[in-house]
């Protein structure tokens, strides 16, 4: 049986399933590769509590399921508990992305008491204070590790993100041992310092060279096997190693194409998520804070989601063949490539609807990069 009236089939959710909320522009740290400061998301102001609380009611009406609280540093907000209570009241669950240095026993106790916290992600970049603090500032390793300990004591799900850069490249094995064996986390994720925000001004000091990337890929693949896939990644060297090895294998086997590849399909974010900057401006993604779609409590979220031309443009990028780009001309990897992250394409080239040069396998190889041996011990 079926209802007599069926809505016209549109392959888009009615409303975003989750929202990334930059609830504050404040942070107690200035990490040298921070993607926030000096980016379009660095808006120099925070919204009053009431504005967020009013917006959460709209998120409830839109049946949004998850809010990912980030900033800058979410724990800088003195009204964080009020905001979280608003999220809970409006039938959402939440995650928090944090540097971990401001977490108190009292706050962790509160988070646990909500029964709605799906996780707190803490950034750890080294196995020792010297390595972690190289980009994050003195004393912050001890503070962040203490934050993890407090959260775990309250039974909260803690995840760790390791951002790989020049200072911790040779510490990956010890980081894995610290997090997976000593701390006993079920897993952790990795990425790498990307050409965004402050990293653009400190690229020489922090970003990986092609040879560094090779070393990181090789090490992470080995650790990934050693720890039974307890290290994961959606970006950075581990993700690149897995994707690039798959692409190279497809090329060698002369496969016609790989499903979902060959066009700008590298980002599905605009199909399921939206984001809000600290000043209340709605954007497609925190990393694409320059694309302003409207303002909370002024513009209708459902209307923005369904009809904003910029969102439509981003959603339609998946139909743009990589072969249309001069950048990709003559590349053997086109049928196996997704063009990767539009935000990174924008910060490097000023254009979202372009393959990201940073994720280009051909470019990486031309610049002296090597692919790791998939089976190396």
């Amino acid at each position: 049986m079926r209802p007599k009236r069926i809505n016209a089939a549109v392959n888009l959710m009615n409303t975003p399933r989750s929202v990334d909320l930059a609830i504050t522009n404040q942070c107690n740290l200035r990490c040298t590769y921070c993607s926030h400061f000096t980016s379009a998301g660095d808006v120099g102001q925070d919204l009053p509590t009431e504005e967020w609380l009013r917006f959460f009611e709209e998120l409830n009406r839109c049946a949004v399921m998850d809010a990912i609280l980030q900033g800058a540093e979410p724990f800088c907000r003195e009204d964080l508990k009020q905001l979280i209570q608003g999220i809970v009241r409006n039938r959402m669950r939440f995650n928090i992305l944090s540097n971990g240095t401001l977490i108190t026993d009292e706050m962790a106790s509160f988070l646990a008491s909500t029964y709605r916290c799906d996780g707190v992600q803490i950034s750890i970049d080294g196995s020792t204070p010297k390595i972690h603090d190289a980009c994050r500032g003195k004393g912050n390793f001890v503070r962040a590790m203490k934050g993890i300990k407090i959260l775990r004591r309250h039974g909260l799900p803690v995840s760790v993100r390791v951002t790989i850069h020049k200072h911790n490249l040779k510490d990956l094995e010890d980081i894995a041992r610290l997090l997976l064996e000593e701390v006993g986390l079920p897993s952790f994720s990795t990425n790498s310092a990307s050409f965004m925000g402050l990293c653009r001004y400190n690229a020489e000091e922090v970003q990986l060279s092609p040879e560094d990337r090779f070393l990181a890929m090789e090490t992470l693949l080995r650790l990934h096997r050693k720890y039974n896939s307890r290290i994961n990644a959606e970006a950075g060297p581990l993700a690149e190693a897995e994707t690039w090895l798959e692409m190279e294998k497809a090329r060698q086997e002369r496969r016609e194409r790989m499903p979902g590849r060959g066009c700008l399909t590298g980002c599905g974010g605009p199909m399921s998520k939206l984001a809000v900057r600290a000043d209340g401006v709605i954007v497609p993604c925190i990393q694409m804070s320059h694309i302003e779609l409207g303002r909370i409590n002024r513009d209708d979220l459902h209307e923005v989601w369904e009809n904003h031309p910029e969102l439509k443009r981003l959603r339609e990028r998946r139909n743009i063949p990589l072969s249309d780009f001069e950048f990709c001309k003559g590349c053997d990897y086109i049928p196996y490539c997704t063009g990767n992250c539009p935000a990174l394409a924008y910060t490097i080239l000023g254009e979202e609807n372009h393959p990201s040069p940073d994720a280009c396998l051909r470019k990486f190889l031309e610049e002296g990069g090597r692919l790791p041996d998939e089976n190396a011990k």
């Binding site: 209802p3 069926i6 049946a63 399921m65 039938r91």
Partner: protein, 95 residues
């Protein structure tokens, strides 16, 4: 449950209608999500504490095509599943 029982949704559960009239029931208290087909969505919207199961079956017959004879039994099973998952309950009966 007696025939006069009137099912009602758990107020913490969110109905997320997706494309093609399918939906997700999201229990914000547990984080669990359950898929609903278009008929399930129709039924969920009838759980307002004012209708008995028999009345909901009548609504189904009026608004859906191809409703089978045994629909009432299926509906009772479906609502019982919702109750067991904590997604719905019954309006308190007045004596």
């Amino acid at each position: 449950m007696p025939d006069t029982a009137k099912p009602i949704p758990n107020s913490l559960v969110v109905l997320r209608e997706e494309f093609d009239d399918w939906a997700i029931l999201f229990d914000s208290a547990t984080g669990n999500a359950f898929g609903l087909n278009p008929v399930g969505v129709f039924v969920w919207k009838c759980l307002d504490g004012n209708r008995t199961i028999k009345e909901i079956v009548n609504e189904l017959r009026e608004n859906c095509e191809g409703v089978p004879e045994e629909a009432e039994g299926h509906l009772r099973e479906f609502i019982q599943d919702l109750v067991e998952q904590g997604l719905a309950g019954y309006e308190t009966q007045k004596d």
